[in-house]
Subunit: 179 residues, 2 copies
């Protein structure tokens, strides 16, 4: 079933990804083309505070042209950055909270058709607010919101969460609760 | 919070997407750049057979360099194609099954940071096998597998499902079961 690389050409690059156009040999010996993004990987975190609130962040997402309610998340600074460090940084920068209880859940691929991006999913338990958190990236503009578990259930029921990684973490958390 | 488009430039295109490099004006009046994919949208389907088996498909995914267990899914033929038609086509092509009970669940965005792609999620109930299904795309090579609900729970527990849309649909199904 493996597709073998016949040739590989970088056709674009920018600060967070490279775009490749590869010729591949399929298992039936035919030649086909695969166009895909090479991405450094990312981490996404579901933060739960010491008083059992779930923190979500709202930001404008230019590609979809609207504000979106999401878990804090961000890409790795480079290929070698540890996902756990990335998760801790994004949690602090986007929510002003930290924790020592960051639990790895799963590595997921959001876009297997045209990107090698993975997102390492974490649940951050017992998060506490700190006075002087690291500043977020200059071109980010993020609002934080605190929800009870019942409010989150209502957000899901009314389809108000549409971000893939956010839904994955919230569903995982609810399934764990119901066990 | 809205980011206004200052200029927009198409820097690449291929059969399934266009890549844009836009200059945007942030809410703090600073200028920034957004690079993103324009995608026609897609549908993904969780098929349940009349004898309560869940159908998953395995295929080699070149960007991540491995075989992946997924729900049937595919992109829309064009921007105007109805998601329901797309879902029915992909179900038939990838699994050889059809149904009249295709239930819309949610529209999700797998990659809000750099793609406008959405995936419309469906559950296909009471799927039946047909004798002469539409053929799948020539460069696709797909195996189908049938799982009981307990087998699916084990796949999730052991982190054997890593595809975003597939996990979203399976977790949704399990949450619905536990209600």
């Amino acid at each position: 079933m493996k597709e073998k690389t016949k040739s590989s050409k970088k056709v674009y690059e920018c600060s967070f990804m490279e775009l490749y156009e590869d010729q591949v040999i399929l298992s039936n010996k035919k030649i086909s083309e695969r166009v895909y993004v090479k991405h450094p990987g990312a981490a996404a975190i579901l933060p739960i505070t010491t008083d059992h609130k779930i923190i979500l962040v709202k930001q404008y997402r230019y590609p979809i042209g609207m504000e979106n309610l999401e878990v804090p998340a961000g890409k790795k600074d480079d290929l070698n950055e540890d996902s756990l460090l990335c998760a801790k940084r994004e949690l602090e920068e986007e929510t002003g909270h930290i924790t020592s209880e960051m639990i790895f859940i799963n590595r997921i691929y959001p876009c297997v058709g045209y990107s090698n991006e993975y997102i390492d999913l974490f649940i951050a338990k017992n998060c506490v607010k700190i006075d002087h958190p690291k500043a977020m990236d200059e071109d980010e503009n993020i609002e934080t919101f605190f929800y009870t578990i019942d409010e989150v259930k209502m957000l899901l029921k009314t389809n108000q969460i549409n971000d893939g990684k956010t839904l994955l973490l919230l569903q995982h958390y609810l399934l764990d609760e119901l066990k």
